[in-house]
């Protein structure tokens, strides 16, 4: 049985060429083409490829972020990055011993990279991301169907309880295994801390409510539930909203 490969590149011509080259190797089989990171994650869930050839520069979600989401899968695929010219990334790849190919890809280099392809662990990914843009465009959560991606700009608030964080977005909610502190560090000024257990998306703030017993709540666009503001954060939140 041949090894299944998923090809991810935003350029049709680049995908065609890689597909043609992979097809020439007897022991590999192309199972899908994706044009950006989001499609890549979806197709990876669907086809469960063993290797993903992943372009770095793509619109929507880039290759580095897609790799982070792929690493969340139960059976994460091996990843080989492809790049035309990315000096910083290449240094980081070498440092982390992560497989990569330079475009235009040579047949022999492709064959070698496929043979040596391996999974990338989270430590390696973190090191790669720290080098460039640490901020993700999407939050991913493992669900029964595999993996769900929520665009960060669609998130209304993050709320922590006990062990997990609930991500409330425009069409529902998901549960992720991260801490509010990490999220606050990553998304910084896009979210506002209103409570020890809650971060709200600044762009979706609609207004402030005061309930009968003197508690303040913050309302967010398109969601029914309001988020409690703790006494400690009231003054700061009001000041912030005024400044908007």
């Amino acid at each position: 049985m041949s090894i299944q490969v998923l090809i991810v590149d935003d350029e049709q011509l680049a995908r065609d060429r890689l597909a043609r080259m992979v097809a020439e190797f007897a022991s590999y089989q192309v199972v899908g083409h994706a044009a950006n990171g989001i499609e890549a994650v979806q197709l990876a869930v669907e086809h469960e490829p063993e290797i993903v050839l992943l372009d770095i520069r793509m619109p929507g979600m880039d290759g580095l972020e897609a790799a982070r989401h792929l690493a969340e899968l139960d059976e994460p695929p091996a990843v080989i990055f492809c790049t035309a010219y990315e000096e910083h990334a290449i240094e980081a790849f070498d440092l982390q011993a992560v497989g990569y190919l330079l475009k235009p890809v040579r047949g022999s280099a492709l064959e070698g990279a496929l043979a040596k392809a391996q999974r990338i662990n989270k430590a390696q990914l973190a090191a790669l991301s720290d080098d460039g843009k640490p901020r993700r465009s999407h939050i991913s959560a493992r669900t029964r169907r595999g993996i769900e991606l929520i665009a960060v700009h669609d998130v209304r608030f993050f709320q922590a309880d006990q062990k997990y964080v609930t991500v409330r977005h425009g069409e529902g909610e998901i549960i992720i295994d991260e801490t509010l502190r990490e999220l606050e560090g990553e998304f910084g000024d896009a979210f506002l801390r209103v409570h020890r257990n809650a971060l709200v998306a600044v762009r979706h703030i609609v207004g402030l409510d005061r309930s009968g017993d003197g508690h303040y709540q913050i309302r967010l666009r398109d969601v029914d539930e309001a988020v409690d503001i703790s006494r400690r954060h009231v003054a700061e939140v009001r000041r912030y909203i005024k400044s908007l």
Binding site: R17, L102, P104
Partner: protein, 336 residues
Amino acid sequence: MVPDLCNVASISLLVLFGELLVLVMLFAGGPLTWMRLALMSLFVQWVAITSAGVLCWSRRWLAGFGVVAGAVLGFAEVMVVTFLVGMAADRLMVWGEYPVDWTAILGQMVISGIITALALRYFYVQQQLRQQEQAELHSRIQALQSRIRPHFLFNSMNIIASLIGSDPKTAESVVEDLSELFRASLNDAGNQVQLQDELDLCERYVRIEALRLGDRLQLDWQVEAVPPGVKIPLLTLQPLLENAIYHGIQPRPEGGTITVKVWFKDEHVHVEIVNPLPPETGPGPSEGNKMALNNIRSRLLVLYGAQAGLTTDVRNGHYVTVLRFPVGGEHAQDAG
């Protein structure tokens, strides 16, 4: 290195300088009379204007001798003029059989020699300074010369590699277009080309990018008739278009349309490039964009001074870049 004294401005300056010299000599000693002023003026102007005439007339001939020999010969010419004028004045001033006043003639030649040597030195330093300025200007333009982005090179190579097997004809045309772009980027910096040539170059560039981006890239060219012969510094528009594609189209999964408008108004050519804004989720505005814009701005400043401008603006969710430059020639390059 012989100074150019063949124009009215130089002669006027020479006359003025001569009068100043007369005043210096007048006040340096001897009786202060109008007669002395008049005679000294007559003599100095006579020497100065005749010398200027001789230098102007022999300028081409002197230029063939190189810097030092040319200066020595020029100096000798002035000395001969001074001697002849001195002799003539000596003979005219006195009627009768008085002997020539050799002391006076020697004095005139010493003064004339010192002033001429100072003037030659001044012209030499000034010329050196100007040459240095020219060299600096040239190297500044060279440094600001737009370079093809490495990304574009490797992406294009990838396109060619992809097409060679499946569509050799298109691969061939990509190689041709790419060669033209490279020839342009290797061209002497600061070169001015016909506006139409630059627009052709832009089209070649867009053809390559269109192969890469497919349907995501749409272009709307609205080029009005511009007077023939309008020139533009080479690779001025192409980097703007490249910016529009890299920042406005590439980060958008759905792509978009870039509008290029060219029109002519008030002796200025206006070029407007409109592209959609990158999505908010993507990376922030890149430093590369600003660098490319500043680069073009500096080049325009060197070539046109304040008459040209490059402005950027966000209008109705679009990024608008407007380039404006005068039709009539360059600004700084004429100085040499």
